[in-house]
Amino acid sequence: MSLSKRFAACILAASLFAPTAFAQTYPSKSITVIVPYAAGGNTDVVGRIVSEQMSKILGQQLVIENVGGAGGTTGSVRAARAEPNGYTLIVGQMGTHAASVGLYPKLAYDPVNDFEHISQLSDTPIAVLVRKDFPAKTLGELIALLKADPQKYNNGHGGVGSTSHVACLFFTKLIDARPPMVAYQGSGPALNDLVSGQYDFLCDQIPHLVPQVRAGNIRALGLAQMERTAALPDVPTTVEAGLPAYQASGWNAMFAPKGTPREIVEKLSAAANQALDDPATRAKLEAIGAVIPRKENRTPEGLKAFVAAEIAKWVPIVKDAAAK
C-alpha cells in the first residue's frame, strides 16, 4: 500500500467515524444563535437570557446574531439553510414558526420539516386590553359593543403578521365581528397610541404592557389562558370572562437546521432544559413576564408536535382574514 493510498484510507476511515466523534466533542467552538428580530425585543431578550445559561452548561459561548427583516422570516430562512452541524441555531416564535405559514404564500421554509426541534423556551400570556376611558368594563361588554357596531371601534396591532395582529384576528373570529384594524410599526408604537386613546382595543402579549396597566393608563379585560397571572392578579381569564375558547399565547422556541445530528439536538435540548430549571434564569424570564413552558414542550418531539398544533390553529385564522 503506497503512502498516498494509506493516507486516503485514513481519511476514509476518519470520515466514517466523524459524525459520532463530532457529536461527542460538540461543542468545540462558539455557537451562533440567530434571533430573527432586532435586538432589545421580546424574542431577543428571551434568547439572550436562555443562551447565557446554556453557554455555562455547554462550556462554549452561544453568540446571538440579530437577523431582522420581513416579519422574522429573513432570519428563519437563513437558519433553515445553514449547515446542520449544531453551530447555527435559531430562536423562533409564534410568528416565524406558525402564523407565517398562513401569511406568506411563498414561505421559503417549513417550520415542521425544515428544522430539528430543540425546546420551547418561554410562553407569554396574551390579554385583551382597552383604552382607559373605553365604555366597556368587562370582556363581555366589549364583545357586546363590538357585535352591535363593529365599524365603530378600532383595533390596533403591531404590524401585519405580528403576534398582536394574529391574536386579534383570532379574537374577532371567535366573536364574529370585524372591526377596522390599524397597523403600527411594532408593539411599542401600538401601545403608545392605546395609552393616548387613539384607538379602542388591543390583543397583545403582556410583558411590556404590565406597567401601563398597573399605572391605570390602559385596562386589561381578559387574559387568554386558563389561569390568572401573578403579574396582573386582578385580571380575569377568558374562561372566567365568558370566552373560554380564546386561548392564545406568544411563545419562543429554539430550533436547529434539518439534518443536525440527533446526538447534538438531544444535547442542546438537555442544556436548554437545564437552563430553564436554573432558578436564576427562571427568575429573569419571569421578571419580563414570561412563563416557563410545560415539560412536554421542552423535548424535540414535544416541540415538533406543539409547532404542528400551533400551525393548525393559526393558519386558518390568518387565511380566513386574508380572504375577506
Binding site: 432589545g40 431582522g68 427583516g69 429573513t74 430562512v77 401585519v160 390599524v182 397597523a183 406597567p211 421578571a287
Partner: protein, 501 residues
C-alpha cells in the same frame, strides 16, 4: 438640588459609571463612523456585555454609545462624503464641501462643538423635565406624524438647487423607492419581485452610501490626482469666538428642533437634522454659502443630533415606550436587569435613573476628550495617497453595508445606487431630495394610511388635530415662499441674460 446630590451619590455607589461613559462614547464613535452600522446596531452589539455588569453602568454604557454614534456619524460625512448614520446625511452637504476647500479640521471641530452644545442642552432637559415632558409623545397622533413628515419633505422645495423640476423628480423617485417592501397596512408585497430580501424594503442607508460614497468614488476614479491637502487641513480647529458667534443662531435652531424631535419618537430622528439645516439656511445672514461649505450647515444638524440623543430618552424612560430602534435597545438593557421603564421607574429604581443622568453628564466630558483625540488619526487616514485611500474607503463602506444584514444583496443595492448617483451627478439632478424621499416616504405613508383607517377615510382628521394642522400649514407656507423665491431668482437671471445678449 436633591437630584444633583442623588446623581453624585449614584456615582459614588457605582463608580463603574465613569469608565462605562468613556467606553460607550469611544465604541459609539467607532460604530457610528462605520457607514452602515447604525447607532442601534452599535448599541445592540454591546448588549451581551451588560449582563453581568452593574445595572446602572449597563444603561450608562448603552446611552453613551448612542451619543457617541450620533457624533461618529458626522466624521465620514465630512471626510469621505458618506454619512455614518442616517441622521448625519444633512451634514454631508456642507461638511464635505468644507473638506474639499481644505477645511476638514475646521469642519470636524464645528461638528464636535455643535454636537456637544446640543447634547448639553438635551441632557439638561432630560434631567429636569423627563416626567412632565414624557406625555408629549402621547400628544403626537398618526395625523401629527403626517404633518411632521410633510414638513420634512417640504424642505425639497428649498434644497432643490438650480432646477425645481429636477429636484421634484428626485424627490418623487425617492418616495417611490420607499414604497418597495411589505405594505404597512395590508401586508401585501410591493415591488419585491418575489425576492425575500426585498420584503423589508430598501434601507435608506444603502441609498445614501450608494449615491454619496460609491458615486463619489466613481467620480474620483475618473479624475487625476487627489487635490493636495494643505497643512491647515491636517490640524483640528475648534471654532474661535468669531465663528462661535456666527454659529449661534444655527445652533439654537438645531437645539430646539432636535429637542422636539426627540420627544416625538415616531419621527425617526433624521427629520430634525434636515429641518434644522433648512431653517438655519433660512435665518442665516449668508444663505448663499449653504451647499458650498457653510459652517452653519454643519452646526445646525449636528446640534440637532446631539439634542435628540438625550431627549429621545425622555419618552422611553417616562412612558416605557421605545419610539426608535436605539431606544428599543436601551429598553432591552433595562429589561435584562429586571427593570421596566415607565411611570413606575422613577419610584422603584430612582438610584438607577439618577445614575443614568450622572452617566449622561460624564459622557459629555468623554465626548470632548475622546471625540477630539479620535479626529487626528481620522484626518491622517484621509490624507493618505489617493489610490490607497480609495481602496480603503471602498472596502470600509461595502463591509459596513454587508454587516447590516450580512447580505451580499445589500452590497449590490448600494453599488447600483452608486451608478444611479453617478448618473444623477452627470445630469445635474440633485441627490438630496431623493434621500429625503427615501428616509421620510415610509413614515409619511404608513402614518397617513393609519390616520385614515382611524378616521374612517375622512381627510378632515388632519385639520382636527391642531399639531397636524399647524405643521401642514407651516409646510404649505414654506413651499410657497420657496417657490416665490425660486421664480423671482429665475426671472432675475433671465433678465440678466437678456441684457447680456
Amino acid at each position: 438640588m436633591n437630584e444633583l446630590m442623588a446623581m453624585f451619590g449614584a456615582v459614588v455607589a457605582s463608580p463603574m459609571i465613569i469608565p462605562a461613559a468613556f467606553g460607550g462614547i469611544a465604541w459609539g464613535i467607532l460604530g457610528g463612523a462605520l457607514p452602515g452600522i447604525s447607532p442601534s446596531i452599535t448599541m445592540a452589539l454591546l448588549l451581551p456585555f451588560t449582563y453581568g455588569a452593574d445595572p446602572t453602568a449597563a444603561v450608562v454604557l448603552l446611552a453613551s454609545t448612542y451619543l457617541g454614534a450620533e457624533y461618529g456619524g458626522s466624521i465620514p460625512a465630512i471626510l469621505i462624503r458618506t454619512p455614518g448614520t442616517n441622521s448625519a446625511a444633512a451634514t454631508v452637504i456642507d461638511g464635505y464641501a468644507m473638506k474639499e476647500q481644505g477645511k476638514a479640521g475646521e469642519a470636524l471641530g464645528i461638528s464636535l462643538y455643535s454636537t456637544l452644545l446640543g447634547s448639553i442642552f438635551g441632557v439638561i432637559l432630560l434631567i429636569t423635565l423627563t416626567q412632565p415632558l414624557a406625555n408629549v409623545a402621547l400628544a403626537f397622533q398618526p395625523t401629527s406624524y403626517v404633518g411632521l413628515g410633510v414638513l420634512g419633505l417640504s424642505v425639497i422645495a428649498s434644497l432643490a438647487g438650480e432646477s425645481l423640476i429636477k429636484g421634484m423628480m428626485a424627490g418623487f423617485i425617492g418616495l417611490m423607492i420607499a414604497t418597495v417592501g411589505t405594505d404597512p397596512v395590508t401586508g401585501l408585497n410591493r415591488f419585491t419581485f418575489d425576492d425575500p430580501e426585498l420584503l423589508s424594503g430598501i434601507p435608506p442607508i444603502l441609498v445614501m452610501v450608494g449615491i454619496y460614497a460609491v458615486a463619489e468614488l466613481f467620480e474620483q476614479s475618473s479624475q487625476p490626482g487627489w487635490r493636495q491637502t494643505n497643512s491647515a487641513d491636517a490640524s483640528i480647529k475648534m471654532p474661535d469666538a468669531l465663528m462661535r458667534a456666527r454659529l449661534r443662531v444655527a445652533q439654537v435652531i438645531g437645539a430646539v428642533i432636535g429637542f422636539i424631535e426627540g420627544l416625538t419618537p415616531g419621527g425617526g430622528g433624521t427629520i430634525a437634522a434636515f429641518l434644522s439645516y433648512n431653517e438655519a439656511k433660512r435665518w442665516s445672514k449668508k444663505p448663499e454659502e449653504f451647499g458650498n461649505g457653510s459652517p452653519e450647515g454643519i452646526a445646525a444638524p449636528e446640534t440637532a443630533n446631539g439634542a435628540v440623543s438625550a431627549t429621545a430618552l425622555i419618552p422611553m424612560l417616562g412612558l416605557g415606550i421605545p419610539g426608535s430602534n436605539s431606544a428599543a435597545v436601551l429598553l432591552g438593557g433595562f429589561l435584562i436587569h429586571g427593570m421596566t421603564p415607565g411611570p413606575m421607574l422613577f419610584t422603584k429604581h430612582y438610584d438607577v435613573v439618577m445614575g443614568l443622568y450622572a452617566g449622561k453628564v460624564i459622557s459629555l466630558f468623554a465626548l470632548v476628550i475622546v471625540g477630539y483625540l479620535i479626529l487626528r488619526p481620522c484626518i491622517w487616514l484621509v490624507n493618505r495617497p489617493k489610490h490607497y485611500l480609495m481602496a480603503f474607503i471602498f472596502a470600509l463602506v461595502l463591509s459596513g453595508v454587508y454587516a447590516i444584514h450580512n447580505s451580499l444583496f445589500h452590497v449590490g443595492i448600494a453599488l447600483a445606487f452608486g451608478v444611479i448617483g453617478y448618473g444623477m451627478k452627470y445630469f445635474r439632478i440633485p441627490t438630496l431630495p431623493m434621500v429625503l424621499g427615501v428616509v421620510l416616504g415610509f413614515m409619511v405613508e404608513s402614518n397617513y394610511r393609519r390616520a385614515l383607517v382611524l378616521s374612517d377615510g375622512d381627510h378632515m382628521t388632519f385639520t382636527e388635530d391642531p399639531i397636524a394642522a399647524t405643521l401642514l400649514a407651516l409646510a404649505a407656507i414654506f413651499i410657497v415662499i420657496s417657490l416665490v423665491r425660486h421664480f423671482r431668482d429665475s426671472l432675475k437671471s433671465g433678465k440678466a441674460e437678456q441684457k447680456a445678449a
